[in-house]
Symmetry: D2
Subunit: 350 residues, 4 copies
């Protein structure tokens, strides 16, 4: 199944850790347990700076709890109109901020460009009491189309945020894939570029059900526990969530899983291109947008390789694509099976 | 540790089921998976009527998602001033209803009495635009002090709700303990008494981290998924939560676990009384409120039997009690150990 | 001053009525007074159908109280991105709906076109739990640029709303100007075209400070008083607001005032065109968007004819315009004075 | 009519000022007009300290806009359970704070006592993430039963607020009556006692429809305009509201009006007592709670002296009282007429 990386199983390392350390043990509730207490320290090492971390059930909760800290109820959040915030989180950003609005900024099909952002900020009426001036920039890394922002662009965003007094947020549901793709230190794609807070997905990349909310600027951690409590996100047995993160960030599991997913997408991309099947972008991370005939799509679906139909604009025209998403447990055999299903004969091991 | 049943481990049956059916498998997200799809059917058998069920991470989320369906933003929820809603869910009831208020009703230290409720409803100015008239009665079964409402009292509440057009909600974080204690069918403590919707805890009674939101009157299920989505409670890998509930309600696991917890509390109660140590109520479910000397408390704590200090009013005077909570994995050895720590010599096997 | 019609004085008829009937008299609070009780009947005659009416302090309150009735907290309101809702009401639409989002639809610089709306509705994923599907269409009549929707277009909108199950709302802050311009019955621009509810401005057109919230479909009046109460809009001495509306809708005062304002704008438009000064649209209602040199602008400002700088896009390029707004007390002498200030010699009485 | 002071007419001074300075004139919108710009200065003289002032349509809006500045969405507001906030503002305090709860504190039938407040604050679990700790004390001056807090008690409240880090709010819908009754400087009942912000009613005491929101601690004025905007309380023609306040605070009009109302209540109180008719308290301000027979009540109502039935607890028993409210235009003739209607013969001019 290539529908989404949220169809993925949980990986054995995480399961084994839960079995050994959580299932049969007793510990304090609401984050006073051993594993939750370690999380800040643990992630501070990963990011090479002091961070504040909280485990959360869903990406929507993680994103919106963070945004509630970063944006007031009469302000706006700048994001791309194709971002998860804009199209896949219903009215959650509004709910958690108590009323903030989304303001779109673009430049590319899935990305905000520094030029567009600079221009939009320049044109803002910051003191218009009838408007809702931006308070936070929110980018998605990797984007909804699987591409990534470069450390350089992220730094320019950070400079603009600083200049205009904006907070800077990263929706990192697939941050692991972005770090793996950019082969850089996570700090370069976050706090070193000026990021205030971010979320970091695990559910799509090997965990059962947990995301990390990471705050770099400690002033924005104030009150976050109360915000989590009143939205029903302060888990009594938080240790079960924290232990997943614990394993996820141990022994580079998060990066290894993401790297594998990216490689499977790259493998597939290469294979398709060798056989003249168009993919919209080169595979950056773990998503491919593929031009298939309807008959190829049906064949692949019948063979168990389900994908979403995902029309994308190309020079003003909507074209049909299918989105293929790989994940930590996608195998080369599955890629080969998919290729076979759409009529590509793979003659040697891939 | 006797601090709370949310310190309990997860039980082996649930763990084994996750291992076998969830860890290594792929399935659809957002509740379209196999185990979530079965939940309604599964719980309908338990309750002997058609129900709508949703798995939720926390008790606060489950309670408040339900109340958001049952109470408008300018109305009130009648509850006991010692209820979890009133003292332990911060402003979550307000957040999820968009503004509803809590209105207290009592009669006993932890319970609403039918007389008090009848009197309060009788005195209500239902059409006062300046007030916030009640729309929902919320009771806790078992109560915060471990006692239970009888099916008869629950029926009277149901009749009053019907008479005044109120919805009727049960916070069942420890519903399993109540059913086990009352030795009755779950239907008698819910829909047969007129209950509109309820929550049913699992985290405290053997699960990792899941609660069930159960709706009996189907009109109140309309829009609940959107409400869950916008509060970050629509889990992408919901199957992991649903599978816990699946096992929990299989083979009477939920009742067996609760019965054991209740028995351990009863065992302790008997032992204490035999040695003239006062407990506030007879053990109904899995909580005891014990009069200990400070020295006894310290001895028990040092021996690893931590409890919360829990002052309770007794005829107008606040008296010191300690709350002891048992759970599914509490053992007779632990009870004996505790007895020993506070100076009770247990001469024969208990 | 041509800044806005909200700089206008209150007209003598309204003042005299307050003097005679309100200032010195005693009456019941919260809308139980004589003049508020008459409002429904009064406006039902104006609209030639049964309506429910409430007087409100501001246009933002009137619009957003209505939208709170017409749109749920997880849904969207379709509006034009230049509408008052979108640019001049901060996050009020969100606040009053409890979280709804705005979804933009366009076609013309200040108008939604039937084609665009049809296309957008056709493309909507109505059952996407992750999205926020539209529940209400909101148009502005007259628009922010002073143009009006024809009864025919309004009817097409109504048909589309019916087809897709949307509510249909009209922001009528300058509805009087639109009715006067279209020379049609107010019913044709409202309920006969399928409108569910609307607001109707008076503050800009002769009143001190009052707007009318008008509901055509009675099911949406349910709960509106509670909504007004909890947002602080249920005035204790409501009679003072209602009496303003009473006079406003008597003896065609609202239409006469609007007609005069429109005529003054038309007069100015003609004068400017005779002297080859470009205005963006022909004067439809009481707004003109004028191309002036910077020197002309400064001269007119120095002469007391203040206007806002109002850049408008013209074939992809932002061009400088100045917005001139007339109102019920604008005089031909003022128009002549303005003309004189920008270098137009008016040789005969205008 | 003695139902409420919100049935009162508007007083001639205010009307004349509107006629002369507002009706026929043009000025800037949204508070940039001449009279609004003067308000801060004007009220700073009245209070003998720098204040920030905003005119608002209703008492509920004024109270709740202020509380929104003083209390976060996960905190509580301490108030008396008979206060206007608690019983007459529906869920507005929740709406404007985004979710705060009311926590009751008492001591007397209509008043919080310093002892009770000290005790309740002492017992508060300030760091309980599951609770909603108090952030603001809200008292009503004069109270709902027409009594007043002494400057001494207000100072003790202020000291407690300072000690515990609470904000301190006064609902002054009838503050003028309190100042008149206490014959002290308004500063003594406000900022000198430590009050952070207050509201000050005018609608009940001679204005058409306006209340003043007064902020003493300037940090809490930050963002209030945006809050007003998004709740629909930023009036475009604000000058009309401000001009009412302007006149109200000129020439001691506010105190003279209040003093007269208080005197009429005192006159009535004396008359009733002379004829052995019980009133619950001595008349402090402009409210009397009178023990009448049902036949007396009916006679007075038939004679046009309508009152509300207002049962009050007296040593644990609910007793029937009728509430009589006087206002700035109540005359001695009306008091005599009322006395006559209930069977008291007034033989000499009163």
């Amino acid at each position: 199944m290539f529908l989404s990386d949220n169809t993925a199983p949980a990986c054995p390392e995480i399961f084994a850790f839960l079995q050994q350390h959580i299932q049969g043990t007793t510990d304090l509730p609401y984050g006073d347990d051993f594993y939750t207490q370690q999380l800040n320290e643990f992630l501070s090492v990963i990011f090479d700076t002091d961070v504040w971390v909280m485990p959360v059930l869903t990406g929507t909760a993680a994103n919106c709890l963070a945004l509630g800290q970063l944006c007031n109820n009469y302000q706006s959040i700048i994001c791309h109109e194709s971002s998860h915030l804009a199209i896949s989180e219903s009215t959650a950003p509004v709910f958690f901020t108590g009323g903030a609005r989304l303001q779109y900024c673009g430049g590319e099909i899935d990305k905000i460009t520094p030029q567009q952002l600079a221009q939009q900020l320049e044109a803002t009426h910051w003191n218009d009491i009838h408007g809702s001036p931006p308070a936070t920039l929110a980018i998605t890394q990797a984007t909804e189309l699987g591409r990534t922002y470069s450390p350089e662009d992220m730094q320019i965003f950070g400079d603009l945020c600083k200049q205009y007094g904006l907070n800077y947020f990263v929706d990192g549901a697939r941050f692991a894939n972005a770090v793996a793709a950019r082969q850089c230190h996570p700090a370069e794609l976050s706090w070193r570029a000026g990021v205030t807070a971010m979320t970091l997905g695990a559910s799509k990349n090997g965990a059962f059900n947990v995301e990390a909310l990471v705050i770099f600027d400690p002033q924005y951690a104030k009150g976050i526990m109360a915000r989590a409590k009143r939205s029903g996100h302060l888990a009594s047995k938080m240790r079960f969530l924290s232990a997943q993160l614990h394993t996820y960030f141990s022994n580079d599991l998060w990066l290894n899983n993401a790297r594998h997913a990216n490689q499977m997408a790259a493998l597939c991309d290469r294979l398709l291109k060798q056989h003249s099947i168009e993919t919209r972008f080169s595979a950056h991370t773990n998503q491919l947008f593929i031009r298939l005939t309807e008959s190829q799509y049906h064949s692949s679906r019948d063979a168990g390789y389900e994908m979403y139909h995902w029309p994308l604009e190309d020079q003003g025209i909507l074209k049909d694509y299918y989105r293929l998403v790989t994940h930590w447990s996608t195998s080369a055999e599955q890629i080969a099976g998919f290729a076979d299903a759409i009529g590509i004969k793979v003659t040697k091991p891939i």
